[in-house]
Amino acid sequence: MLDIPTNGENVIIEAHDLRKTFIAKRGRGKTEEVEAVRGIDLAVDEGEIFACLGPNGAGKTTTVRMLATFTIPTSGTARVAGFDVVKEAAKVREKIGYVGQAGGVDDNAPGRESLVLAGRIAGMSRKEALARAEELFAAFSLSEIADRPVKTLSGGQKRRFSLAIGLVNRPPLVFLDEPTTGLDPQNRANLWDEIRALRDQGTSVLLTTHYLDEADALCDRLVIVDHGEIVAEGTPEKLKKELAGDVVTLRLDDLDGARKVLAAQPYIKETQVEGDSLRAYLDDGEHGLPTLLRALEAENLAIRSISLDRATLDDVFLKHTGRSLRDAA
């Protein structure tokens, strides 16, 4: 079990060894067990944006669905807002907002109708629900399109309605499953701002994403998930610092030879081969690069191309899984 440090504030999500095994039908009466989630431990503090980063099929959605009381775990326990997700599911549902990957907005009705219904299900009177809807329309710039059938709206507008519906009961915690998938860069940036605004108002957010930049830009802490397991956990800064600040990517013919040379250099913290390129991690790229070039030259290793970049979460993913997140899906 991972020992996950938190900031010592109140914990809003606490999961221990969550597992989910699906029985998949494989035709002609045959079944196959698919272990979607294989022992996940999580602790999310109140008021933080927490991300589950991982490739498609890593088990992010299943994890969120278990925490949101949609899917019943095969084993393990989780408490959300102080309540057990299996035994006290009804209490958990009062405390959460859930925005699934598909959005969950009825296409055939105007957004206002969906919002009012959601509010009334959460226990509001018609008047209260209408007022709450108005509030959310203003917050998400939806007032002008609130009475148009949702099917006539753009992807970004629909996504904002999904988010508004998820927030109708003023939940202390919202789950956002791949909130920006399929959005254009402008809409993505706007949605990031809206998610940050949620945190600023004290709402805790757990989101899943397969975008590195999204996890990097948005979240306070994250876990990297692969094949149903957590492979790394921490703040984006801490995870990148563990690795090194900079990365030199080299393309050359003798990858193994070069790797040996570079691994022997004291300022190189780590090397990784990815496809036909070699990645070397070091703290101070600007000053290390000339030394690195001289070392390779001394061994007569011909370089075809070279680049120096800041290390990203993709490098963290590569270090822990041996694959790049771009190739992992």
Binding site: K20, F22, R65, A68, T69, F70, T71, I72, A90, R93, E94, I96, Y98, V99, G100, Q101, A102, G103, G104, V105, D106, D107, N108, A109, E113, L117, A118, R120, I121, A122, G123, P149, S162, I165, G166, N169
Partner: protein, 249 residues
């Protein structure tokens, strides 16, 4: 529980009100049957009068709306298994059976309204029945709808594929229709068919309707039909709520 059911019903009625064309097209079929098929039946009635044929055929036309309308009610829900609406509702504070029951109540109301329209057409053609018979017939339609719609939602949630569902519904509709005496009374059928028909719940709905229209309130088919559809309706609701839970895997 009741509050949530009615909230969903109200919402669904709103959606329906914005698309009134579909339910209106839905009753064209039984109305056409009344206009173009009932007159053919006059030759098999004792006195050869249209009003007699209408007593035999109008209940059948009503059951037809239940079959062709409510059995397809679940189609819309297949999309909701994909667009995330059901997923969201399942983790909301909604009482889960209300998600389905709310829609079923809407379908039952629709069915009663459509039945009233068809009865209106039949009345224009010369059908005369008592208010009690009409009230009981509408109630019978409501419980038939309770069963047919719940079954349809259960099927939609279990199959979750429009093509598969339409094949399954079509596969069952024809034998159910022919073996209910919908077109012609089962009393005209050979013995073996009459025996098989006794296992078809719709047979009792049609027979009970005919007994009501003939003013024969003591006919045992009437309580049998109400009993069967209430029990089957509750079973179908249980099944569809279970299927809803299975969405989560």
């Amino acid at each position: 529980m009741l509050r949530h059911t009615l909230l969903f019903t109200g919402y669904e009625l709103g959606v329906m009100r914005r698309n009134l064309a579909w339910p209106i097209i839905g009753i064209m079929q039984p109305v056409l049957y009344l206009l173009l098929f009932a007159p053919l039946l006059t030759s098999i009635t004792p006195n050869g009068e249209l009003t007699e044929a209408l007593i035999v055929f109008t209940p059948a036309a009503l059951v037809m709306i239940a079959l062709f309308g409510s059995m397809f009610a679940g189609f819309g829900m297949i999309n909701e298994t994909r667009n995330g609406v059901l997923e969201r509702l399942a983790v909301s504070q909604a009482w889960r059976p209300a998600i389905i029951l709310g829609r079923v109540v809407k379908d039952m109301l629709m069915l009663v309204l459509q039945s009233l329209l068809v009865l209106g057409v039949a009345a224009l053609m010369g059908l005369r029945i008592s208010l009690a018979a009409m009230g009981l017939m509408l109630l019978l339609m409501a419980v038939t709808g309770l069963f047919a719609a719940n079954l349809s939602y259960g099927l939609a949630l279990a199959v979750r594929d429009e093509n598969g569902m339409s094949q399954i519904v079509q596969f069952f509709l024809l034998p159910l229709m022919l073996l209910s005496g919908l077109m012609l009374p089962m009393s005209l059928a050979p013995d073996w068919m009459q025996t098989v028909a006794k296992f078809n719940p719709l047979y009792y709905a049609v027979e009970a309707g005919r007994a009501l229209f003939a003013g024969d309130f003591s006919d045992s088919d009437i309580p049998i039909a109400f009993g069967i559809f209430l029990v089957l309706g509750v079973l179908a609701l249980t099944w569809s709520v279970r299927s809803l839970r299975k969405l989560a895997g």
